[in-house]
């Protein structure tokens, strides 16, 4: 199991765990983490699972692919550390990952 922490816009942190291979979005939905809507269910077509990756984790998480970069155009307040959580697969390398959720997804 891999532990990941979601910090909402008020600063409240929730640490939950998932199985390697799940997407970060799936882990959030499984544990009913607020702040992740995931309207399209992981098809990279809605931009409602937007997260900000903490700077220390950006290298491990990597950069978005071009399809995801396109979809980020539909998100709000996109920053250099913005990612769509449905496109991040968790693994041992991401154990302890910390991401922030925006104030609103849509």
């Amino acid at each position: 199991m891999t532990d990941v922490t979601f910090i909402d816009h008020t600063g409240e942190a929730r640490t939950v765990s998932g199985t390697n291979g799940m997407t970060l979005m799936e882990v959030a939905i499984k544990h009913q983490v607020p702040g992740i809507d995931a309207e399209c269910g992981g098809a990279c077509s809605c931009a409602t699972c937007h997260v900000y990756v903490e700077p220390d984790w950006m290298a491990a998480v990597g950069a978005p692919a071009s399809m995801e970069e396109d979809m980020l155009d539909f998100a709000f307040d996109v920053r250099p550390n913005s990612r769509l959580s449905c496109q991040i697969k968790i693994s041992d390398a991401l154990n302890g990952l910390r991401v922030h959720t925006p104030s609103r997804q849509s």
Binding site: A43, C46, D70, P102
Partner: protein
């Protein structure tokens, strides 16, 4: 968008939502000689399958090891073709009211385009609700909506001689930037990066106009609005380098795609539970007799939001709908494999 029409369209069944479940309802109703009209807020047929994941493979449609969202929609369209369904696209149902008429109960349904229907039965197959434009979480944006901030352009003339700030990088943003360039006093297009998802020829045309000095292209995101009494005077922005800047404008058009909202369904007088419509599992009928809810929009003990569940629900709802439309006719259960009368309806017999 259809023109306002004073004529009322009468139909046996009115299906609200043209996603896979609404489409299959046409088939099940058609086998029972029930004619259907469909309404959808999207300008195209297929609901989420067409809007959210046309290219994505679906693996749990019985009989199809794999099918994409768009293929499923295309197949359903082929399957219901014998029943000649009529579509009303790009319209949102704003009201559904039940009325007693000489022939019994009817439902009066009206869309935001002013199209009016009189239906003997209504099937709500609205999925996650209606696709509506995403509203950027900019402080106080509500105060400017419909006076200075618009999520759709109904009439280009209303933007004549205004300084229009268009935000976004897709086809809607580019198309409106190009269309309004000759109407507005100035068009400023703002996008968060120097790459656009829009059609390449639109992007090329936009860059040409920018090079000629006929419109402005800025990179950044809107962080705040300036103005008073709903009248916008400027947008506060920041670039990807986080440097703040201000864009003078008196109209803003944000194009950030669509999101699903329940929409006016809440105002149709149906019982709702957490934005879903509770139904029984025999007829999939709502708290209002004659109105059914099928697919993702309904809820009942054990509900699974699967397309296949919606197909089953459509079949059972059609059986009960038959009793409303043909109260004197006995319904004989038949198979399409063996019934010559069903095969005739499908146009495959003789």
């Amino acid at each position: 968008m259809t023109e306002h029409n004073d004529a009322v369209i009468t139909t046996d069944a009115l299906i609200i939502g043209a996603g896979p479940v609404g489409l299959f309802a046409v088939f099940e109703l058609g086998l029972l000689d029930i004619k259907a009209h469909l309404i959808d807020i999207l300008p195209k047929i297929g609901g989420q399958c067409a809007e959210l994941y046309p290219e994505k493979p679906i693996y749990d449609i019985p009989g199809f090891p794999v099918v994409t969202g768009q293929q499923l929609v295309d197949n359903l369209m082929q399957q219901i073709e014998p029943f000649h369904p009529e579509f009303h696209l790009g319209e949102m149902v704003v009201s559904v009211t039940r009325a007693e008429s000489g022939q019994g109960v009817v439902f009066h349904v009206e869309t935001d385009a002013g199209t009016r229907f009189e239906a003997k039965t209504v099937l709500v197959a609205a999925g996650g609700g209606s696709f509506q434009p995403k509203k950027p979480p900019i402080p106080d944006i509500d105060a400017y909506e419909n006076t200075s901030v618009f999520y759709a352009v109904r009439q280009m003339e209303s933007l004549r001689d205004h300084h229009v700030l268009i935000v976004g990088g897709g086809d809607s943003a580019l198309d409106w930037a190009l269309n309004l360039q000759s109407v507005a006093s100035r068009v400023t297009l703002m996008h968060r990066r120097d790459e656009f998802r829009a059609a390449p020829h639109s992007v090329a045309k936009m860059r040409e106009l920018v090079a000629e000095g006929k419109m402005d292209l800025l990179f950044g995101q809107v962080t705040g609005l300036e103005g008073a009494n709903g009248q916008l005077t400027a947008a506060h922005c920041k670039g990807m380098d986080q440097v703040a800047f201000t864009v003078p404008c008196d109209r803003m058009l944000p194009f950030f795609g669509l999101t699903m909202k329940l929409g006016p369904i809440a105002e149709w007088g149906l019982n709702l539970h957490e934005n879903l419509i509770p139904v029984d599992t025999e007829k999939f009928e709502t708290s209002t007799p004659g109105i059914f809810a099928i697919g993702d929009i309904n809820t009942y003990p054990g509900k699974l939001k699967l397309i296949l569940s919606g197909f089953h629900e459509a079949a059972l709802a059609a059986q009960k709908a038959h009793r409303y439309i043909y109260p004197d006719k006995r319904l004989l259960f038949q198979y399409t494999t063996s019934s010559t009368s069903l095969q005739k309806k499908l146009g495959v017999n003789g």
